[in-house]
Amino acid sequence: MSGELKVAMGRRYKFSASHRLHNAALSADENREIYGKCNNPHGHGHNYVLEVMVSGPVDAATGMIANLADLDAYVERRVLDDYDHKSFNEDVAAFRKMVPTTENVCVDIFERLKNFSQAKLERVRVEETGNNTFEYAGDANEEPNL
């Protein structure tokens, strides 16, 4: 038995958004070749599920790692307000430079949430559909992607 005992809390949120996978640096043929139907010029959308994991000591007075209402409000303000019922390509600044794959969506969400003050952000996990899931836990060696 080694290692400190840790507790983490996972919270799931839903948002719906549209995207188009397209890289302007590639030719039209290359974009179609790489992204297939996700390159449809008029976009398409998903009902995404976001899972946020935070860890930290459990407060003896409240039994909580972080106040759930505060975490919900933070995620609402930092992510859902900008993401829900929006077009990633048109409405979210980060995706003017990045293709809005769900890999990149995970990275953007992690950057948006990593300064949550009540607990450590362990990772974010995004389900694009029930069959495709992506996770990001930050990268200690990576330059901040602000």
């Binding site: 038995m1 080694s2 290692g3 400190e4 005992l5 840790k6 507790v7 983490a8 809390m9 996972g10 919270r11 799931r12 949120y13 994991m53 459990v58 003896a60 007075a61 409240t62 039994g63 909580m64 790692i65 106040n67 759930l68 209402a69 890999e103 990149n104 995970c106 990275v107 362990e122 990772r123 495709n132 992506f134 996770e135 990001y136 836990a137 930050g138 990268d139 200690a140 060696n141 990576e142």
Partner: protein, 152 residues
Amino acid sequence: MVLLTRKIEFSAAHRYDNPAFSPEENRRVFGKCNNAHGHGHNYTLEVTVAGEPNAVTGMVMDLKDLKDLLEREIMQRMDHRNLNVEVPELAGKIPTCENIALVIWNLLEPKIPAGRLHRVRLYESDDLFADCYRATTANGNGSTRQGSAVKR
């Protein structure tokens, strides 16, 4: 290393209330979870055990043993109970998902071969859960802190 997970469901009542807080403070901190008469959930518990498959049986752990352990330690203790008043391990604690997961970890860890309990995950609802696990060392594997790549 192979991970094996057993899932069980139990139903229980609870209430969040800290007697050291005023009624107003309890309502402010705990919201509707402070309702005087309590409320309940269908909890889903996932218990993950790690190990190498035994050369003879092909098993990481006999699932029947794990099933019996969860029946004895968790179901009989928590299913159709009030967590505030009927589970001594939670006495004096707010029965949040985090605290229940910790109690479950502490009940199971001594009864599972040393170092093999990998994770306890307790869902209070589809949208809220707590994990309990031992942090790995910097050189260890499986650390959730070291994840560096976006993976499909």
